[in-house]
């Protein structure tokens, strides 16, 4: 589309094992090529808000999808979600919670904060791979994201003609 450093997926995962399994599943599914991993909530926020060591990044090139674990060091997943969805510059980025838990209160809290999906990682590895593949397929291939200009317009909250 554009000749820019576009990213398919930002994976927010602190656990090395989970990270390896998720990357394996994503590569096997052959849906996402450009995956970036951040290892805690603070780094996720720095990355998406283009600050700290990610200051050179631009809001014009958000990842097409964020896969977010809930239990994270420093800033937990719910807080990351809350900040992203509360900010006009980041609120349209699809965020899929990918977690071990299916506790009702996490589900409710996640959706209330604006999560786009909530997925419990299945124990069975085949099911896990299939789940990750379907998620990738949906958000990267089927779903139509807003184009950047529209995103800005939306963020500006002025609904003029295109």
């Amino acid at each position: 589309m554009m000749n820019t450093p576009e990213l398919d997926i930002l994976l927010v995962e602190d656990n090395q094992d989970d990270m390896d399994l998720a990357l394996h599943a994503l590569q096997r599914g052959q849906i996402a090529n450009r995956i970036f991993v951040v290892r805690d909530g603070e780094e996720a926020l720095d990355f998406l808000f283009c600050r700290g060591k990610y200051a050179e990044r631009s809001f014009d090139h958000p990842p097409k999808l964020v896969l977010l674990d809930l239990k994270l060091p420093k800033v937990d997943g719910m807080e990351v979600l809350k900040q992203l969805k509360a900010d006009d510059r980041t609120k349209t980025i699809p965020i899929v919670i990918l977690t071990s838990s299916k506790e009702e209160r996490d589900l409710v809290a996640g959706y209330n904060l604006g999560a786009n999906s909530f997925i419990q990682k299945p124990v069975d590895f085949d099911q896990f791979r299939e789940t990750v593949k379907q998620v990738g397929l949906y958000w990267l291939v089927i779903n139509q994201p807003p184009v950047i200009d529209d995103r800005k317009r939306l963020a500006g909250a002025s609904h003029g003609d295109k």
Binding site: D17, L21, K121, V123, D126
Partner: protein, 277 residues
């Protein structure tokens, strides 16, 4: 003077009573707070079981699978077999964790009694259980059940567990007959619900073990399961202030009966009385 003294006396009594009441109330508040803390601890415990135990289990399942797939060709014949056993073990443990959590969730689910019709719930469950009936001849004999005051979400779980069990333990039968009906309890006219099958049954001398957590009457090779299903049934029935019991004979089938308490008026009493289980 006498009248004056009487007033003082009754005033003193009143003060005494108020003091005692206040004290009692304070104690109730204190105990409630303690209970709340204990409950929260339990909740956070089941939360960490869910999150913390499932994660390493997923890693074992994932990496052993990757090992089999990527290096399976180079493995000695026996090694592949061990990998399969690891896979089977992780699946079993995953199921155990999920069912234990389910049991814990029933414990803290507050009872939401409402009038409910049971036949639609059962019809829906039969559809859900269809994969287990594939290639078998199964006859469901479902009577018209009376409407009942209960928590339909939880009662659905009772029927699901009992019906799944009935299907499981009739697997060796050429024709499976599962009967679901209701009768009236003699003492108080309460409905008694029954799920009866023509399966392998059980020896009545083990009837006390049926409802215990992790208690199983059959070898894992013959019938898969976690030994939590009937414990969950019992927990739900107790929550309703009802009773559950079983009858069976080896090779002659089994029947599970339960009541659901007598509705709003008697709920508080029976809840307390049955809590010991």
């Amino acid at each position: 003077v006498v009248a004056f003294r009487d007033v003082t006396q009754s005033k003193a009594d009143e003060r005494e009573i108020r003091l005692l009441t206040d004290e009692l109330e304070e104690r109730v508040i204190e105990r409630t707070a303690q209970l709340r803390v204990a409950n929260q601890e339990l909740e956070s415990f089941s939360y960490s079981v869910s999150h913390d135990l499932r994660a390493p289990l997923r890693h074992i399942a994932g990496f052993s699978k990757m090992l089999a797939e990527e290096y399976g060709a180079g493995l000695a014949p026996g090694a592949q077999h061990y990998l399969d056993r690891i896979q089977a073990g992780t699946q079993k443990m995953g199921l155990l964790i999920d069912e234990l959590l389910n049991l814990a969730r029933v414990g803290r689910h507050s009872l939401n009694r409402q009038s409910a019709r049971l036949n639609p719930i059962i019809a829906d469950l039969i559809t859900i259980l269809e994969p287990d009936m594939r290639g078998r001849e199964v006859k469901w004999a479902v009577a018209d059940l009376p409407g009942v005051e209960c928590d339909p979400v939880l009662v659905r779980q009772i029927f699901q567990n009992l019906m799944a069990n009935a299907l499981k333990f009739t697997r060796s039968r050429t024709e499976t007959v599962i009967e679901i009906c209701a009768t009236q309890k003699q003492e108080d006219g309460q409905p008694v619900f029954t799920v009866r099958d023509n399966g392998i049954g059980f020896n009545m001398k083990y009837v006390d073990k049926l409802f215990g957590v992790f208690q199983r009457l059959h070898r894992a090779e013959d019938f898969e399961g976690t030994g939590i299903g009937l414990a969950t049934v019992q927990r739900i029935v107790q929550k309703h202030g009802g009773e559950v019991w079983a009858e069976g004979e080896e090779d002659k089938g089994a029947a599970f009966h339960f009541t659901l308490g007598a509705g709003k008026n008697r709920e508080a009493k029976s809840d307390g009385a049955k809590a010991g289980g």
